[in-house]
């Protein structure tokens, strides 16, 4: 564990990786419109916003293969990293209109371009240019985290965990999820979070899946948006929250039992612990996602996680990114995904006893040279 965090070094390391990847693929530049991609390649920040507003005021990055400093187009120059030369920080280009798209096109070097996403005016403007998918460039860069990146995730998660201790004291019959959100949001900013990135989830789980809400697949329905429904004694609440610290996401999951857990809740949590511990037994460089899937599923009836989600996912400037483990991409995908030092995994298996609801939590691990280290606290079982 290190308290060392050097943001300028982190940005330099990430930029170098992207430049090397462009060079290796013979690409002239990466043009990035997705805000997590800009956050990664440049280290710039814009205010967190609803998707519509975020799209309209999006930052854009151009990373060139010559290794020169990236170019940033932004309405929020104060969010640009301090070392970025002033002549590399430009006014925002509105990608919702042809004028902005044409201006962006005019700023690109000749040659093949990697691009992550189009607005429709940009799609029209790029017609005839040789375009490849920038996720193929960024993905391999992002998947292995430097020590600075891991420290950002650790700090994001620590803020989230600490805020949840404050929230926990408010969980009681008659309280509403919306009130818990208020306590949580107040606290994360006091603790230094840059932003909140997902509407905090406090979902009251039904005892049986058949009790609803309706499930199209027959599986547990999760997550659903927070409502002002009042909690009742004995309610089992699945919590899922995420904040941003220096561009990096936290991902916190736990289970509250209103009025306090009983033995069946502790038993479920113990089974969850066993699933994660079986995964940790095999978690090291060279292991595959398939190995984790098999470890988690051993001794279980079926696969103990939500089938439309995953057993585990990566985390970084996106709250869920590669490596994805146990998705519907299938066994071949999992077996081909080999873990390497610096990869970060958020484990989120689920224990479900139809009739008695279930237990869900999340735990974040980084793969080290010879095993793993925790970036989150080790889950301590049901709360409340």
């Amino acid at each position: 564990m290190t308290d060392d965090l050097d943001l300028a070094r982190m940005r330099r390391d990430r930029h170098r990786k992207v430049v090397d990847a462009l060079d290796a693929q013979g690409l002239a530049a990466a043009v990035l419109l997705g805000q997590p991609a800009v956050a990664y390649a440049v280290g710039a920040r814009a205010p967190a916003a609803d998707a519509a507003r975020a799209a309209q005021q999006r930052m854009i990055a151009i990373v060139t293969a010559d290794g020169d400093a990236p170019h940033l187009y932004t309405a929020f120059p104060e969010g640009a990293p301090p070392e970025l030369p002033a002549d590399h920080v430009h006014e925002a280009l509105p990608m919702e209109w042809p004028e902005g798209a044409t201006a962006l096109l005019g700023a690109l070097p000749d040659g093949p371009i990697a691009l992550d996403e189009y607005t429709m005016p940009l799609h029209a403007a790029m017609h005839g240019r040789e375009i490849t998918d920038a996720t193929a460039i960024l993905g391999p860069c992002k998947v292995v985290k430097t020590a600075d990146e891991r420290e950002c995730i650790r700090r994001a998660q620590a803020i989230n965990e600490q805020a949840m201790l404050t929230v926990q004291a408010f969980v009681a019959p008659g309280v509403r999820g919306t009130e818990l959100s208020g306590v949580f949001l107040r606290r994360i900013f006091e603790l230094g979070a840059s932003a909140n990135t997902v509407d905090p989830i406090w979902q009251v789980m039904p005892p049986r899946i058949a009790d609803g809400p309706y499930s199209a697949t027959g599986d547990v329905v999760f997550p659903t948006p927070t409502t002002d429904r009042q909690f009742a004694a004995g309610d089992v609440i699945w919590v899922d929250t995420g904040i941003d610290y220096e561009g990096y996401a936290s991902d916190f999951g736990c289970t509250f039992v209103v009025g306090g857990p009983e033995s069946r809740h502790r038993d479920q949590a113990a089974r969850w612990r066993e699933i994660v511990d079986r995964c940790l037994d095999v978690l090291k460089p060279g292991a595959t996602a398939g190995d984790l899937v098999r470890a988690a599923s051993a001794d279980e009836v079926g696969r103990p996680w939500l089938p439309h989600l995953y057993l585990a996912h990566g985390i970084g400037t996106n709250s869920a990114e590669m490596p994805l483990v146990g998705t519907d991409l299938g066994d071949e995908f999992d077996d081909a995904l080999v873990l390497a030092p610096g990869m970060v995994l958020v484990f989120e298996p689920v224990v479900w006893d139809d009739g008695n609801a279930g237990f869900r939590a999340e735990e974040i691990l980084a793969v080290t040279d010879d095993g793993y280290e925790h970036l989150s606290a080790r889950d301590g079982g049901p709360r409340g």
Binding site: E78, L185, P225
Partner: protein
């Protein structure tokens, strides 16, 4: 049929689009009325919602009908998948999609562009965002009521935040004060990360820092909420501590630019002309922020956010455009004490 869907179908007919495949959540919400999980930030395009002109039906990517109105029956929910090929397969299986000549999309990725071309080789990809923008632009009476309700939540939270503007508070703590109060009104989704920034230079910063606010600081405050998806937001500039004569001067100089600007926000005004004023910006307000092109003319029933940053004062109000001028929907006082 939901009124949003009717307007989208009309606009599809006008722009000759057979099928809309929507990735932007505001667009999906407009046609379906569905509440799905709110996430901050941009998302790459993925087919989250499909509208078929021939059948008039909306289809949603969802594993549950929680938050989905009855107008979208369970049979019109299609499953999520991490495999984009499966997602496109589910879209192609929707009645009326495979025969479409023109498919409107509100964004693309290189991968989905390939998949569309491979799945619908005869179809042309049209600008679905242009369709949705036109359908959403002029608000119905019910939508205006929804925006008014959102503004009232935002103004309540803004008032509490203005109260908390005391020496010793850090800028970023004010974000938490605003959002906590918003949650007490029953909505947990901000329109954007609030800006609570001490004014030193222009342009005014929009990213609150951990700077401690001291007595005498002038603070630009900009914040908003989404209530049932509808945006209510505003901006004001307040002094921490006692007001000074200079404040009144600043504000009257600001108002000297602001008042004529508001006066020009009437039917027929060209958006680009309003933007020409130094420090002025304008965008549409509805299910979140809505983009307005320079060439657009204001129409009765449009709701816009007008913002002016001048003389170290940031102010923004939400306006309902009418034939004979605009109604200012935000009522929060410009200065402490109700000025």
């Amino acid at each position: 049929m939901a009124e949003g869907l009717t307007r989208a179908l009309d606009e599809m007919a006008r722009q000759d689009v057979d099928v809309l495949v929507l990735g932007r959540e505001g667009n999906a919400r407009f046609v379906s009325g569905a509440t799905r999980l709110w996430l901050a930030g941009t998302r790459p395009f993925a087919p989250g919602c499909v509208v078929v002109r021939e059948t008039g039906a909306v289809h949603l990517m969802s594993a549950t009908d929680f938050g989905v109105p009855a107008e979208v029956p369970r049979a019109r929910l299609y499953p999520m998948s991490w495999n984009p090929v499966n997602v496109m397969g589910a879209v192609a299986a929707i009645a009326g999609v495979s025969s479409a000549r023109r498919i409107g999309v509100d964004g693309l990725t290189p991968l989905f562009e390939q998949l569309f071309t491979a799945t619908f080789p005869g179809a042309h990809l049209a600008d679905g965002e242009a369709v949705m923008r036109a359908a959403r632009r002029v608000k119905s009476a019910r939508e205006i009521e929804s925006i008014r309700a959102a503004i009232s939540v935002a103004e309540d939270a803004f008032a509490v935040t203005a109260e908390a503007l005391r020496p010793g508070v850090r800028e970023l703590e004010l974000k938490g004060v605003f959002e906590e109060r918003m949650c007490r009104s029953g909505t947990t989704t901000p329109a954007f990360e609030g800006a609570f920034c001490v004014v030193d230079d222009e342009p005014v910063r929009r990213l609150a820092s951990d700077r401690v606010i001291v007595d005498g600081d002038l603070v630009a405050m900009s914040a908003g909420v989404l209530l049932d998806g509808w945006e209510g937001s505003l901006a004001r500039t307040r002094r921490c501590g006692a007001q000074t004569t200079e404040d009144r001067d600043r504000r009257s100089r600001w108002a000297a630019q602001w008042t004529p600007l508001v006066d020009r926000c009437r039917a027929g005004a060209r958006v680009g002309d309003l933007r020409v004023s130094a420090g002025a910006s304008i965008h549409g307000v509805g299910l979140g922020a809505e983009a307005l092109e320079d060439s657009a003319a204001l129409e009765p029933g449009m709701v816009v956010q007008l913002e002016l940053e001048a003389n170290g004062v940031l102010g923004a109000d939400t306006l309902l455009v009418g034939d004979d001028g605009a109604e200012v929907l935000t009522a929060f006082p410009y200065a402490a004490g109700g000025d």
